[in-house]
């Protein structure tokens, strides 16, 4: 199997409504379901927004896109936003060609994503 995609959570105490996670590895059909469960495991009911740092994810196939869309739909139901940061060229290409950019807030870095969400957060 393709090595498991490592999930890391990067909680920010000043932003309790925002889950910040990073994916490391290559995301494909063989490890996508595991990653989905791992992400659900770190999301709590307080998390209204999700930031996913993809800067260490050089590959993502259509199964991976499906996971991201499922997370987006879950966060959407909470009235929140899913922001993606650090897309490498191959991910940029697949997002662009599939038109999925329109469903996510795409930012260069996690810090940019936080700034983007800040106006939506309670003071």
């Amino acid at each position: 199997m393709t090595a498991v995609v490592q999930l890391a959570a990067h909680p920010d105490d000043s932003l309790p409504e925002v889950a910040i996670v990073s994916f490391t590895g290559e995301l494909d059909y063989t490890n996508a379901e595991q990653l989905r469960q791992d992400v659900l495991g770190v999301l709590t009911p307080e998390h209204r927004h999700l930031i996913v740092d993809l800067s260490e994810l050089p590959f993502c196939d259509s199964t991976g896109l499906r996971i991201l869309l499922a997370l987006r739909s879950l966060i959407d139901d909470r009235g929140g936003t899913v922001a993606l940061s650090g897309l490498q060229p191959r991910l940029n290409r697949i997002f662009k060609v599939t038109g999925l950019f329109q469903f996510f807030a795409v930012q260069p870095t996690v810090a940019d994503a936080v700034e983007l969400l800040r106006p939506q957060l309670p003071a």
Binding site: A3, Y29, F59, S62, L69, R90
Partner: protein
Amino acid sequence: MRVNHCGRWPITQDLAGLRRHIHHHAQRVGLTGQRLDDLLIAANEAAINVLEHGGGSGVLALWHDEAALTIDVTDTAGRLTGDDVRRELPGSDSPAPRGFGLWLMGRLCDEFAIHQEGGRSRVRLRMRLNPLER
């Protein structure tokens, strides 16, 4: 034109390994940058379809001549037909969670053809080897 058979690999859960092989050989014959990425994305989609819909086992063969690099992905279900190369846009209204694989193969490769024979289906993906791109 001389045909060069670079390799044949079974399609297993080790997709990362399969992608390494493709990357290595495609780069050697001069495919780089976005066109290499496009081939890699498309070939992976063909391979995961074998695992998910195509009977669970199959083979990926890579060969080239002077004009083009070809990847043939053969499954053991034989249910894909020439008609499956149709190219309609998935998910332009709401985010469609399915149906990107075949569409991506057609969108990203210079040739996308499906041949059904003897209980197998073969997806052919081709990229021109343009001398100026080398």
